[in-house]
Amino acid sequence: MVRPKPAGQSMTATVSISSIEKNFGATKTLKGVSVDIAAGEFLTLVGPSGCGKSTLLRILAGLIPQDGGSIHIDGAPVDHLPPRARDVSMVFQSYALYPHMSVRENIATPLKVRRLSSAARWPVVGRMMPGQAVARAAIAEAVNQVAGQVEIEALLDRRPAQLSGGQRQRVALARAMVRQPRVFLMDEPLSNLDARLRVHMRGELSELHRRLGATFIYVTHDQVEAMTMSSRVALMMDGEIIQVATPSEIYANPVDVRVARFIGSPEINLLDARADQHGHVSIAGRTTAFRSDTVGPFTIGLRPEVLAIDDGSSEIVIDSRLQRIERLGHDVLLHMRHDAGSKKSMTLRVSAAELDALQANGRLNENVAVGARAGSALLFGADGKRLPGLHGAAPPELVAYGLGLRAVGA
């Protein structure tokens, strides 16, 4: 069923996931997940633990069967195919290296299974079977080449137990790369590494993806990994994909309050707001000049960096008390308490220079007003869905244009 790959053609394929369902007993782990992945794309499935992202990846690999829906790789359905025939390779969280084999044998395994006869693969006696010298030489060559690509040539004769976490990670990558699959599946491959190495490997994985040009499907619970490496992010919650978008789009334009909360660190600040029957909006009990399309309670989301200590020019103002200052070097986080939301706490991100200026001219008192431009506010309805922005509050650069238009009209 697997089409032979023409030599020289780039090893990549589209992956189409349509309404995949999976139940474990009475629990619906996946509730009709659909997403189309372009050839050569780096798509990240991100979500909290238990959202079904790893299950989806295993269904893609053919390790567990789905209960509904279908998977197409390069346009052809693969639902009936075992993992071996799907031409995908997978990197696991624990790396899943064979502990009794040397690094060389680990990397060679996928090729041996495919290129040597089953008799030649028997332990011990297999090597005595005739007519395999050419195949074995080709495998050794491929192993050396891929080991060079991830810089582990010096480790080829060691056992996995003798390697550090980062080195094992590279071996796992090499084993995935050696047979040049069209699709790479990665299940939280960086989460067992220490923080420093994780940042480094993030860069290496992006670089690897660029060099190989293959389709990467990457599962993580870490939104930073999702934001930094992917060409698109698919955010999963409770067995559903809530939004698929580029990292910048999913940050700036979340379609759901859960997306807004999951993406971004520190978390987005959510404030209670209400619109009366005329659409006049009050935030934290303060009436504002803005209007909204809805009536009744809703939520306003403000990212930590759009907030500032009010200097009189803010369009949205929240009274709050300064609780704690957290210096991160270039940036400073100000933790505030307020009464305008169920969470009652709020985080501001300002630059260290701004903080110094605030402290110098004595504006950082215990009780401060925090303000933001209305255009930067994200509105979410009571059901969590995104609402259109506040009226009379176009984004800052459009305000002048809007005013000008009105002047012309008048």
């Binding site: 690999a61 390790l63 995908v88 969280q93 064979y98 009794h100 395994t109 056992r159 084993r175």
Partner: protein, 308 residues
């Protein structure tokens, strides 16, 4: 030994623990109860036994005299002792491979079941919990030369009836069958524990790598990952098999014509039937030496192969 070494390292410098000055001598006091137990229950009896192996002590006798290595020389020249030793080794050679392989197969097969896993595990473990002497009588009936169901089965399919406990060349295999039956269940439980410790991701990795034949998967993932378990199972089974006694004592009493004489049975005869404690002690020393050697060899050889 280890105790001496570690306290030697601390020397006479008093150390601070949780702010309190502790005299080094206190360490010895804390170690005393376990040292007394160790010496009293293990080392002393062995020392006494080794000492007695150099004497002509007989059970109930009032005095004894030292013979040096006479007892060992007697054993060396005794055909019955050599026969018992070879019978025991024969038994071990039959029982260990069979019970380890069967235990492993049972564990893998039962572990792969969707339903009834517990039921099969209990069923195969039952021989371990039952008293072997009671079960031996059942086996005696099953393998009986004329009324045994096994022989009925053999004659029914056209094979000659076999006198399992009457034929010198069949008696050790017959005893080995009972030994395998009683040990395989225990080995299965040990292997099952080892199987559950194999990470699922390794099986998934092998599937993605293209290993979809169950037998190849077994040799690529399961068996290597069971290495440490297998080593433990082989050592414990060898020791247990070497100690074969109850089935011989109940079923054959060393017969026919000494064909099922085993070390411990000869030992028992010498010590408690003929009351020759000195000679029995010498047999025990040889027995202990063999077990020690066996464990050491297996540990040395296998240790290098199973720990990655």
């Amino acid at each position: 030994m280890a105790m001496v070494l570690s306290s030697g390292a601390s020397r006479a410098v008093s150390r601070r623990r949780l702010g309190a000055e502790i005299a080094p001598a206190v360490a010895y006091w804390f170690a005393t109860p376990s040292v007394i137990l160790l010496v009293g229950t293990l080392l002393l009896p062995i020392a006494v036994m080794v000492t007695m192996s150099f004497t002509d002590y007989e059970l109930g006798a009032l005095d004894y005299s030292f013979l040096g290595f006479d007892n060992y020389a007697t054993l060396w020249k005794d055909k019955a002792f050599w026969r018992a030793l070879f019978n025991t080794i024969y038994y071990v050679a039959l029982v260990v491979p069979a019970s380890v392989v069967i235990g492993l197969l049972l564990a893998v097969m039962v572990n792969g079941l969707k339903h009834g896993r517990k039921l099969y595990q209990i069923a195969f473990f039952l021989p371990v919990t039952s008293t072997l002497i009671a079960m031996a009588t059942v086996w005696k009936y099953l393998l009986h030369g004329t009324i045994g169901p096994v022989n009925h089965l053999l004659t029914a399919i056209g094979l000659p009836a076999m006198e399992f406990f009457g034929n010198p060349s069949l008696v050790m295999p017959a005893l080995a069958i009972i030994g395998v039956w009683s040990l395989a269940g225990f080995n299965m439980v040990l292997f099952t524990a080892g199987l559950t410790a194999i990470p699922q991701e390794l099986y998934e990795a092998s599937a993605v790598d293209g290993i979809d034949n169950p037998i190849e998967r077994f040799f690529t993932v399961t068996l290597p990952m069971l290495g440490p378990t297998t080593m433990f199972v082989v050592i414990t089974t060898s020791i247990t098999a070497f100690k074969v006694f109850d089935t011989v004592a109940v079923l054959t009493r060393g017969g026919p014509q000494g064909a099922s004489d085993v070390l411990l049975y000869v030992n028992y005869l010498e010590g408690f039937q003929y009351m020759r404690i000195g000679l029995a002690s010498a047999i025990t020393v040889v027995f202990l030496g063999i077990i020690l050697l066996l464990s050491l060899i297996q540990a040395k050889v296998l240790e290098r192969k199973v720990h990655y």
